[in-house]
Point group: C2
Chain length 662, copies 2
Amino acid sequence: MSVESKCVDTIRVLSAEAVEKAKSGHPGMCMSAAPMGYELFADIMRYSHKNPKWDNRDRFILSAGHGSMLLYSLLHMFGYNLPMEEIKNFRQLGSRTPGHPEYGTTDGVETSTGPLGQGLANGVGFAIAEAHLAATFNRPGYPIVDHYTYVLCGDGCLEEGLSYEACSLAGTLKLGKLILVYDNNDITIEGDIHTTFDENIAGRFLAQGWQVLRVPDGNNLGAFRQAVERAKEDTTRPSIIICKTVIGYGSPLAGSADCHGAPIGEKNLQKLKDNLGWTYPPFTVPTEVVEHCKKIADEKCAFEDEWNKLFASYRENFPELANLYERYMGRNYSPDLKKLCNEMEFTKSEATRVAGGNIINRLAEIYPNLMSGSADLSPSTKTGIVGGGNFTAENRLGRNIQFGIREHAMSAICNGIQLHGGLKILCSTFFSFVDYMKGGIRMSGLMNIPVVYVMTHDSIGVGEDGPTHQPMEQLINLRSIPNVKVFRPADGKETLAAYISAFSESYPTVIVESRQNLPQYATSGIEAMKGGYVLQDSKGKPDVMLIASGSEVELCTEAKKTLEGKGIKTRVVSLCCMELFERQPENYRESVLPSSVKARVCVEAGSYYSWQPYCKDYGEMICMKSFGVSAPAKVAFEHFGFTAENVVESALKAIKNAKKNK
Amino acid sequence: MSVESKCVDTIRVLSAEAVEKAKSGHPGMCMSAAPMGYELFADIMRYSHKNPKWDNRDRFILSAGHGSMLLYSLLHMFGYNLPMEEIKNFRQLGSRTPGHPEYGTTDGVETSTGPLGQGLANGVGFAIAEAHLAATFNRPGYPIVDHYTYVLCGDGCLEEGLSYEACSLAGTLKLGKLILVYDNNDITIEGDIHTTFDENIAGRFLAQGWQVLRVPDGNNLGAFRQAVERAKEDTTRPSIIICKTVIGYGSPLAGSADCHGAPIGEKNLQKLKDNLGWTYPPFTVPTEVVEHCKKIADEKCAFEDEWNKLFASYRENFPELANLYERYMGRNYSPDLKKLCNEMEFTKSEATRVAGGNIINRLAEIYPNLMSGSADLSPSTKTGIVGGGNFTAENRLGRNIQFGIREHAMSAICNGIQLHGGLKILCSTFFSFVDYMKGGIRMSGLMNIPVVYVMTHDSIGVGEDGPTHQPMEQLINLRSIPNVKVFRPADGKETLAAYISAFSESYPTVIVESRQNLPQYATSGIEAMKGGYVLQDSKGKPDVMLIASGSEVELCTEAKKTLEGKGIKTRVVSLCCMELFERQPENYRESVLPSSVKARVCVEAGSYYSWQPYCKDYGEMICMKSFGVSAPAKVAFEHFGFTAENVVESALKAIKNAKKNK
């Protein structure tokens, strides 16, 4: 038996053993895809286990994240910092080997995967980032940015709509350095895939503008290597390599759904070992495999050394570009964004989406590495970088990405662009369509990466398009995702604060903007970065507090006038980002919303669910409890009680309640 | 000019006029797709404007819902109850002509559309329903169920991942009576579609097992008619008819994105009329058009008369089948589901997904028209109808639908199956994957139709698969959708109550079930249909109330034992469906959760956002504030404080707080 075959079998046995010990996991695809995994790490990819974050490494994404033990086996064998103790701790609390690969937890894991299709779409983002950075920085003889993105997926990823969206865009954009390895084992949880998925995969990818390659026997390492070579040769099309494999290869459960998502059992594990002629104790990597892989891995570190030399010479010949490169990579560059508060003026009544558009274009000057995309709505969301050009097959320097009407892929691709490194990314669509991209935004939150989502047309203010296009529960849906910060600014200065926050911090931010014009407040400002602040105060302790976000702040400031006219001391609080407000010290929060003031009115044209913590037991809420209506915006607002008059009435009621319950 | 051409032009002018008057709308595709719309309503479809709900009508779905005026024009012209006053009231509050077509608002609107791809996927559901009902009821010479489903879509629908998922399944299932009319006008909001969507549509649909037909000139009525004939002839494949059209045809903005989503303007409207030789006053349907369409529409009513005769004869020859048919259609059949409470026993500790599986199979006996589907997870969600067979191209009688790994399409297809009439439908997947199907569930809520969603593996109880697979914010995400009821039952009897509620009511229900075993409570029961009830009470007024749902109820009943041991009177409330609890009369709600009892602990392994209204200002919450972890379930629960000990501690704290603040 060749040492290569032994390496492949090591992956199979180690994966099955770890799953068995954890009493949980997915051994089947670790065993079917082991040869491709080995070949990629041994003979194909460039990387440096000593510096897993080396800028110009080839990227590997396990889109079929349930096969995590395949990746952990490879990382362990090829020198990454993942000792056998971690393999033995597979799927245990605090281990570096969680059930699905988690970004930030394990060296060599480029992105968190598990929800099917996400990794593949991330890969399209990696390839876009590579193409844009290469066009920006490479000069003849200096391929500073020059790597491939390899994605390994199974049938599951290819059934998800997300994968079609992402691959359709990849084909349109001719992302020639994206290589998809398809572990075609024909088995899913409910059994034979053809009863549910009788698609001509080759025809599908050809229709989407891909090169299609085949490896009829997934165990044939040479054939796979040759296919990758051909994939690389075609620089104008992304490539899919369809590898025919057998799930659970080597075990008695081979070819059956039974080995997809559960341990194969001690007996079958022994039979697997017998079939492979495996005689080692559990959790053993045979010495010859250790040495073979170590030699390969150590030799690969030379790629980074060479690149470092190349970059040194590049720095000499193109000092400005080299500096710019470092700036792109986020090294030695932290601009003072708060100075924008003095620089930018917001005087006339305008929609926050319009303010946002102006801010984005100012940020695009400060961050030359900012790309901005939209799901076919940039004329409405105002997120285009003026003069930035479109990123296309012909113009890799373009800074605007036309994602097409593909919201889900947009979010997952932006995650990939962000994870690649070197770029800042924001994307936009109408807020109601955020439903289609929840899967991707959740991954932004889970990985806690600073993708910026700009969601315009943020309420029943959408008007005539009606309830399908009017967000209602979307605010609470996003606020409830951990790590995600949701801003709903009330005017231009608050919008600026939202963008400054989004561009300064390391978490994902959603900026929710109005379609309709809103007034500018004299007293708004950078304070909005705290998530909530007193916009207009009363003289002395307030009798009532009006708390709102976005367009509904206007109703509160209008109501304040009437209430003050009645001698009622009224405070208006703009709560533009609840998540950031909750992070403030208690004394700050108490100063904005003193618990002694029980009379409160909370106003937001979104689901009431967000507001109970601020409304408290005696407060009043003016929020949405149903879907919207098709009508002009003003009529729709009135229909649901979003008027200054109703805020006044509710304030009087709240004051009464508070007194009664004192 | 032929009268047919005049009819087509009437649609164009009327649509443009209505959009102009509303100062809002999408005239472009009404004008490009007018010929196909006319031809379908005039020469192709069978329907009865006198009875728009006639069982055996051909179905027409405007998946490109923004072209609503196309549909409204057709309904007006072909005799439906949609007078010109309504056309003039396009997009106004309370009109029957909302911005996007709304199910239940307008006769002849088969489904609400607007979010792209939904209507097309609904159409796949219609075709599945038709095929299943036809196989069930048709007998030689008696094609009782025998109609086509026509879907009209634009580029937007075809870019969405949802459409690929739905069409892939349609091809696999060989749904020959589904006919997709593609208004291929090459324009989207950001302009020429090829910069973002350079896909070979014909190749794509061939790869997915469809027949592909072309109409090179969308204005050629005869060519379109012939294409539809060929589509009908191929009974083994769904068909797409690619119609090359010009957006905004006839207006000076023809072929430009400018006429997609905004009024074309008074001047261009006049030029449109000039170009078409249109000399009538605004909102006029020329007399010859009125007469021509009325004649056609009235003649079409004969189809229903014939069908009624056929059914009368069918009833004579197949009386049992005819009765069964009526039962399927929901006429004369309302079984007493509550008797199941006496019939079914839940004695041993088991997962609520297991209880759910048993209940589904009992319901499948009561409702022979129940179909149950899963997104490749029925072995885990336990939702399969045992002995029901799979619905496939070969077995149309199968009652289990294998949706494949296509969550979004599953939800939208189930909406279609439900809307078709004649069937009850439930579908299942893991709860964390609900993110992918939010778009479809929202439409269930918006249309308020009784699709049943079964979501298992409902919390960090998922264990080792880790945070990608552990729901956290999903409960609040669904609870916040209007009309949707979310049940999270604590044991078998509560699970039964959830299913009885879901099958008795007209709204969508999500039943969220545990992966892990849960105890059975002596005092649980049908009371759970109220959404919340006292599961275990104290003797006398409680000192503290422990409020929980699902698996966390067990922690509360355990904690109660300890607390009562300390002399603390403890009530345990199971709040299994907040939305239904909120519908109960105030005195009932007050009896379960007396406002005088301030000491409360709310426990749920989901986002804390749901619980503030029950926790109140002085209560304690044990909920999730972050993503989960990869670890065995028990370890994960302990890690996040979901233990009886922590409930006890929190109860003591709540009692203290309540006293302090009295």
